[in-house]
Symmetry: C2
Subunit: 224 residues, 2 copies
């Protein structure tokens, strides 16, 4: 029988649940209370929503002490949310007052496990103009030049063979309407920047905050 899309749609199609899912796009595992705050609902209500999301296999739980940590089930789910974000962003926009938080999100944010926003797009452009990646017919490939560039930086090229995940991949950006770098390489770039303490992830949102020095180092490293 044909799969039941309606069930999946209804799962996402509730304001509270969609806020939770979007919050989980940060890649972090969040507790039930945190998610209830995110969605502006009481813990009771949140609990029932979370149960539904788990039943629907969109998220998973890890119980740790008296906390329950929730996260998106897998990359496939994250990609679904991402695509829905893109489509709804391109729909006729009732753009209400954008607060300061939104400004930060627009500048640089995490998109499940890689960098998005203005900075993500700038990075993408720089990689391209330096000839490290090539976009042909919407498919992204790492050039030989790019391969040696990234292995010098400490990127483990051997590890990419083990994963079935695409090495690099263009990911449409809902705020910029431009491509940014996703895939295994995109994940590595973000992880690396965080590890070097050039930036840190906001505790309560998907925003990525670069230090002045970190931003400079980041830009010079990738040549822009």
């Amino acid at each position: 029988m044909e799969p039941n899309i309606a069930y999946l749609g209804a799962l996402v199609g509730d304001a509270a649940r969609s806020k939770m899912l979007t919050a989980l796009m940060s890649g972090k595992a969040l507790t039930a209370t945190e998610l209830s705050l995110e969605a502006n609902i009481t813990p009771q209500t949140a609990s029932s929503h979370l149960m539904k999301l788990v039943d629907g296999e969109l998220i998973i739980v890890r119980k740790q002490g008296r906390h329950k940590y929730f996260q998106l089930k897998n990359l496939q789910v994250a990609e679904l949310i991402e695509q829905m974000l893109n489509i709804s962003a391109s729909m006729a926009q009732t753009s209400i007052a954008t607060g300061p938080t939104d400004e930060r999100l627009k500048r640089s944010r995490i998109c499940y496990d890689h960098l998005a926003g203005e900075l993500g797009v700038q990075l993408f452009d720089a990689l391209q103009s330096n000839g490290w990646i090539v976009e042909a017919q919407d498919m992204l490939t790492l050039t030989q030049l790019g391969l040696s560039f990234f292995s010098e930086l400490g990127f483990d090229t051997a590890a990419t063979k083990k994963t079935r995940r695409p090495l690099c991949k263009a990911c449409l950006d809902w705020s910029e309407r431009r491509s940014h770098l996703a895939g295994y390489l995109g994940k590595w770039v973000l992880t690396d920047a965080l590890a070097r303490q050039w930036a840190h992830q906001d505790l309560d949102s998907r925003a990525i905050e670069f230090t002045p020095h970190g931003l400079k180092a980041f830009k010079s490293k990738y040549g822009f």
Copy 2:
């Protein structure tokens, strides 16, 4: 502000509307009455649903005489539906009696504009084992060998430069859980087979019916 996923989800998250959208995955434009039959609802109800889908920019209308023809708005929407079909197919399955129609769907069906189902997967495998396409890190590329093979068949390689659409692309199959050929090339293969009258699309479903002779020709053409 962040895009509103919930609205989009709710749009898909109704049984009647999701049936309509799935029906429109055939790529054909359908009338309001046809869609109401597809969803098992009265024309009045269908009318209100269709209005919502148009408002939500998931589908578009063309008025022709006293008919209204509906179709998916663009490729992005079709990809969303496809992705949702995949995810819901991989969810814990309440697999109820699969009728004969479903058997046909499983064998070979249209996935917006390219071939899916068992036959689509077989084609994909054949193209791969003949060395015409290569799947590396989940990215699909047409080899030089494949390029000359397809241009001999009459595939206009120049035209691919004009479109931003990926030339070939792996598309996960919800019934087979395997890749099949999507993208520009995938579309061409299907169009070509239909033009040669090797197969025809069922009038009332997404099934693709190959003639015995057509199937033979199709298989020998692509070497499987």
